[in-house]
Amino acid sequence: MNVHEFQAKQLFAHYGVPVPKGRFAQTADEAMAAATALVAETGAWPVVVKAQIHAGGRGKAGGVKLAKSADEVGAIARSLLGRALVTHQTGPQGRVVRKLLVEQGVSIGRELYLSLLIDRTVGRPVVVASREGGMEIEEVAAKHPEKIFSCRIDPAAGLQAYYARSLGFKLGLTPEQIGSFHRMLTGLYRLMEQEGASQVEINPLIVTTTGELMALDAKLAFDDNAVPYRAQIQALRDLDEESPFEVEASKFNLNYVTLDGTIGCMVNGAGLAMATMDVIKLAGGEPANFLDVGGGATKETVKEAFRILLSDKKVKGVFVNIFGGIVRCERIGGGIVAAAKEIEVKVPLVVRLEGTNAAEGRQLLAESGLKLEVAATMWEGAQKIVKMVQAP
């Protein structure tokens, strides 16, 4: 689960990580009031108005702007709010800006990069830092791998001071700055451990002209498996940032990811669901979604899955691919028939059932009177649905 920059910074502040003073706003009036209050506190313009969407690259896309007066803040806020911001991470349709962060302007001395994440290869947290702040870390990794430093954390010992020293000296920090870098790392590590964050990224981490370290930007992602136990983190979820189909699917514990194609897929199991998308592509079609109805597909989950799939108007056909294991195919077949009758599936439908009692399941489908094609293999099913969707 991702959260907004302003939410991440609130958590940072709570864990002792220095951030610029800032206020949250949802309208132009709120933004102007926020800026005035902020300047009353800090004593100086400018302020920075930052669009809050769950995507990176906001600065380059025009979503981050300096303002020297309340009127200017109002004008910027009006130009951002309610409009889609297109960055290299949003796709061409962009994301509608609904929230703003108004922040004190700080004078930047140096821009660095810092992140904490789980190194999957060894199963340990890792700190990654670079002297090249403000750039995409992937870009730095490709062009100047020697400028990236990392340090794996032993979870049994926790975050030690020498991690901060070894990275800090490589980053060119002074001994005093290394002290605050250590406090910063300790705070971020505790945030990860205690709040279930799976990735923290600060880009740029700045050294101000007066020598202080500060998180100028903040990106925070949470481990979806840890969120259910933390009400405070759950409260940070912003449904506006998710596809409505995905929000609907999550209510029924269905794993759903929206894609750009026209063929809806309904599959049991995540690996098979991905493979089904791949096979549709191989057959010359484009998948409209990833949908895993789980190992134990029932009539109810199948019905909800159909409803969600068909509410997506770009879906021109549906391919159901089920490998019945513990759940027998005739039960799943029965579920598909009942659900398809209730929902009235009007687009072409191809069903492939394999596994436990597959023959009985297929017979049930064939005798249902429903307009559907039965396929024996995943490949045959994919070819059939692609043909049916492409037919004029």
Binding site: Q89, I118, R120, T121, G123, R124, P125, I137, E138, D154, P155, A156, M192, E193, G196, S198, D223, D224, N225, A226, P228, Y229, N255, V257, L259, V267, N268, G269, A270, G271, L272, A273, M274, A275, M277, D278, V279, I280, K281, L282, P287, F290, D292, G295, F323, G324, G325, I326, E354, G355, T356, T377, M378, W379
Partner: protein, 308 residues
């Protein structure tokens, strides 16, 4: 032969009194697995489907000689259950539970370092040596004894591959689902090493997916240390970057862990990579040594007779 589990394996089930735990404990026993004990704290002294239940893993191991554990406890308590089993000296732990917080697994992995205990999973279908021992939630009937080792990060996609191999009359030595979580126990390399050493495994099917570097490391291992043919498939070539595809570990982040990069690495490592998962069976049949091919119907009957 086979790897990790066989007829002699003595299984205990943690979380046996739960709905899933009791259902699958019974299904494993029906398949032929020696299910000798169950553990549910507070239910010690009772029985589930005739299987004695103990309060602690330690006690169940002492009283029944259990050497392997299958875990069905809820995600919040699963890390604790894994470590309890490891401390009780259980040699192989198969954790089926899905949804364990990643930091819990970070701690578990660290705590298991340097110990003889092996962990399969979590978030996996389990392990099966056909016609001998089934530990997990996979349907037993799709398997048959044979020369193909199968290792995968997935559940139903593994069944798909198994079913193809079985229908061709080939059969499997052992099938292992290593799980879909980013931090997990046995890796592809660990399992490939075991298959390479196993006398009955003649070819291996490896099913990976987007996310992480397990497949790249496996490619390196195959290149340098594997003599047996390996067939590979990677799911998720159409998966968009930055999105978690069902499994917690199935995500392309920062341009890393793409299906294309994994396929390339595996191909360079000498793995026969198939783009179409429905060709896994045929490809492995082609790569098996000709004398061992069991494609004709007459040889299939002969194999079946021998089994009886």
């Amino acid at each position: 032969m086979s790897i990790l589990v066989n007829k002699r394996t003595r299984l205990l089930v943690q979380g046996i009194t739960g709905k899933e735990g009791s259902f699958h404990a019974t299904a494993c026993r029906d398949y032929g697995t020696q299910v000798v004990a169950g553990v549910t704290p507070g239910k010690g002294g009772t029985q589930t489907e005739g299987i004695p239940v103990f309060d602690t893993v330690q006690e169940s191991v002492e009283k029944t000689g259990a050497d392997t554990s299958m875990i069905f406890v809820p995600p919040r308590f699963a890390a604790d259950a894994i470590l309890e089993a490891a401390d009780a000296g259980v040699g192989l732990i198969v954790c089926i539970t899905e949804g364990i917080p990643i930091f819990d697994m970070v701690r578990v992995k660290r705590a298991l370092e340097g110990r003889p205990t092996r962990l399969i999973g979590p978030n996996c279908p389990g392990i099966i040596t056909p016609e001998e021992c089934k530990i997990g939630i996979m349907p037993g009937f799709i398997h048959r004894k044979g020369p193909v080792g199968i290792v995968s990060r997935s559940g139903t996609l593994t069944y798909e591959a198994v079913w193809q191999v079985t229908q061709l009359g080939l059969g499997e030595s052992t099938c292992i689902g290593i799980g879909g979580d980013p931090v997990h126990g046995l890796s592809f390399v660990d399992v490939l090493e075991l298959f390479e050493r196993d006398g009955k495994t003649e070819a291996v099917v490896m099913i990976g997916e987007i996310g992480g570097e397990d497949e790249e490391l496996a490619a390196e291992y195959v290149k340098t240390s594997m003599s047996k043919p390996v067939v590979g498939f990677i799911a998720g070539i159409t998966a968009p970057p930055g999105r978690r595809m069902g499994h917690a570990g199935a995500i392309v982040s920062g341009g890393r862990g793409t299906a294309a990069a994994k396929m390339k690495a595996l191909t360079e490592g000498g793995v026969a990579v198939v783009k179409n998962p429905t060709q896994i069976g045929d490809t492995v049949a082609r790569l098996l040594k000709p004398s061992k091919k069991r494609t004709g119907s007459s040889t299939r009957t002969a194999t079946r007779r021998k089994r009886k």
